[in-house]
């Protein structure tokens, strides 16, 4: 029927742009959340990294740069796990998703806007952290090293986006921060973000090479010259965990959808 073909819809590009704009505004207006996420990696680096910036490892890499890379990985993973975990759980409790579902806004655009916003936020966080390392820590690297590290960490953040969504769909707004902490902090510690692996208990050293955070950090460590596994290995692990966590997230999403919308 002609009339149906002529039924207009709004342009998706503009929808996405405006959706991102309002997500950025929302983040900007909850400084308690945003500032915590920006400040913690800098605070951690100050305690764990600054005293060691002048040390050089046997393979010639600067220890300060390696520790900075650790907290860069920590920062991006934590932004993804916490913003999606807490954000989705809170929105579900407020039933924001129900009203959105009834509008012409495609759910894919809604989710994409959240992902893009989180990536932008992660980028800001990395730039601030690296600037701090350069200015306060005096860490010197070629700019291309930093750019490569930022690109790898942003592109490799998919497992943590999946993990965040899974937490957001499986928990409520009260439980989400606790669950996110209980999952993410041990992962970060066990992968050598805070202390080098050889200072950790033996059983954790054995578990570490199977953790998503461990291989994710390898992307950053190898960018600053500290290589303990081939890049392809890191990428395959990160891809595998992306599939696993996204599968859990999709399952949790469908479970939530079934109870609410079927």
């Amino acid at each position: 029927m002609m009339a149906r073909l002529e039924m207009p819809t709004a342009p998706l590009g503009r929808m996405l742009a405006e959706q991102i704009r309002s997500q950025v505004l929302i983040r900007w207006r909850i400084p308690a959340f945003s500032l915590t996420n920006l400040a913690l990696p800098i605070i951690f680096f100050t305690f764990f990294g600054l005293p060691l910036v002048n040390q050089t490892l046997p393979d010639g890499t600067n220890l300060g740069a390696v520790i900075l890379a650790s907290f860069a990985a920590y920062a991006v993973g934590s932004i993804m796990v916490f913003s999606f975990g807490i954000g989705v759980a809170t929105e579900r409790a407020m039933r924001v998703d129900v009203l959105i579902r009834a509008t012409p806004l495609p759910p894919g655009i809604y989710i994409l806007a959240k992902v893009v916003t989180a990536l932008l936020f992660a980028l800001v966080s990395l730039v601030i952290l690296i600037a701090y390392g350069i200015v306060v820590g005096g860490i010197r690297q070629d700019p291309s090293v930093w750019i490569s590290m930022i690109a790898r960490l942003l592109a490799g953040s998919l497992p943590f986006i999946g993990l965040g969504f899974a937490i957001g769909y499986l928990t409520g707004p009260n439980a989400a921060p606790a669950v996110a902490n209980l999952i993410y902090l041990p992962l970060a510690f066990a992968s050598g973000y805070f202390l080098p692996l050889n200072q950790l208990p033996a059983f954790i050293r054995r578990v570490a090479p199977y953790l998503p955070t461990y291989h994710y950090a390898q992307l950053a460590w190898s960018a600053v010259g500290r290589r303990s596994e081939p890049l392809l290995t890191s990428l395959l692990w990160v891809a595998g965990y992306s599939i696993l966590f996204l599968a859990i997230a999709v399952w949790a999403y469908q479970r939530d959808e079934t109870s609410k919308f079927v």
Binding site: M7, P8, S22
Partner: protein, 301 residues
């Protein structure tokens, strides 16, 4: 009768089951362009489920629901609909204007933001954050979000819940303006005078079935149309009123209220039984009473 306009919503034998409970037991219903239709029914009758099916928020277990001849989830169909739902929200950190502006981008030819804000009577709080709004203001914001896309059809689930008297009056006026502009409006309500005032057509749903589908006037004609009220000098023994041909009856102390289609016979029978009657009143029953007799099980003979 005016010529039939384009069908907007079509229910074809639609059923909806949640686990063991059958919320809708086979609904056939067509809403045509320009109609203002009220869905009426007691809590749990299936009103919200019906709206959810129309919007594609839920899928029918059996049968079909079409919106503009398309699946209700189709973006082309949704782009012509404005929606106000119960128990749904928006982010509290954006202002009223920002929220309206965001929702406007979802629609192909939206109203100016000022216009939508004015229709909802929110001019004074347009720069306020959503979290700081009162319950009534928040409900008006949802109305602004429903109309901001300049939709052909509005779906409003219990739209006036939580509004104060002032908000409700302004809201009803806006609804009337929209109806006069030819918009199709489907709404559910517990406030029966609202249905009577706004709707041209009332669909009564009870226990998952349409039990009446008529104009407010016809609905009144179909059910006990008269209310007989009188006082008695002494409290009446139950036997005095037993077996009266009334659809419903209410006795409080010495005041008796009866609903009937045939007040003359009713009074004749009362006189025959020798019931002393004072302060007699026979008036047309209002919609609320009509509605209650439709949805209540008939009184035991």
């Amino acid at each position: 009768m005016p010529p039939a306009t384009e069908p907007i919503v079509e229910f074809i034998g639609a059923r909806k089951r949640y686990g063991e409970t059958e919320a809708l037991k086979g609904i056939d219903l067509t809403v045509r362009a320009g109609e203002v239709l009220a869905l009426l029914g007691p809590n749990g009758a299936g009103k919200t489920t019906s709206i959810s099916l129309m919007l594609g928020l839920r899928r029918p277990t059996a049968g079909q629901v079409r919106l503009f001849g398309l699946a209700p989830t189709d973006r082309r169909a949704r782009s012509r609909c404005g929606v106000m739902l119960q128990e749904s929200g928006v982010a509290g950190t954006l202002t009223v204007r920002e929220t309206v502006d965001l929702f406007r981008t979802y629609y192909p030819a939206p109203l100016a933001a000022e216009r939508a804000i004015a229709m909802a009577g929110l001019e004074a709080v347009s720069e306020r954050r959503v979290a700081a709004l009162s319950g009534g203001q928040r409900q008006r914001l949802y109305f602004a979000l429903a109309v901001c896309g300049d939709p052909h059809v509005l779906f409003l689930d219990e739209p006036t819940v939580g509004m104060d008297v002032e908000s409700r009056r302004a809201f009803l006026q806006s609804m009337q303006v929209l109806a006069q502009a030819g918009k199709t409006i489907v709404f559910t309500t517990h406030y029966l005078p609202e249905a009577e005032e706004l709707a041209q057509r009332i669909v009564v749903i009870d226990r998952g079935l349409v039990i009446a589908d008529a104009t407010p006037q016809d609905l009144k004609a179909r059910v006990p149309a008269k209310r007989v009220t009188f006082s008695t000098p002494h409290p009446l023994p139950a036997a005095a009123l037993a077996g009266l041909a009334g659809a419903s009856m209410e006795v409080s102390d010495r005041r008796v209220r009866l609903l009937t289609n045939d007040p003359e016979s009713l009074l004749r029978e009362l006189f025959r039984r020798g019931v002393a009657i004072g302060d007699l009143e026979v008036v047309g029953a209002d919609l609320e009473e009509a509605f209650l007799t439709l949805t209540r099980p008939p009184a035991a003979p």
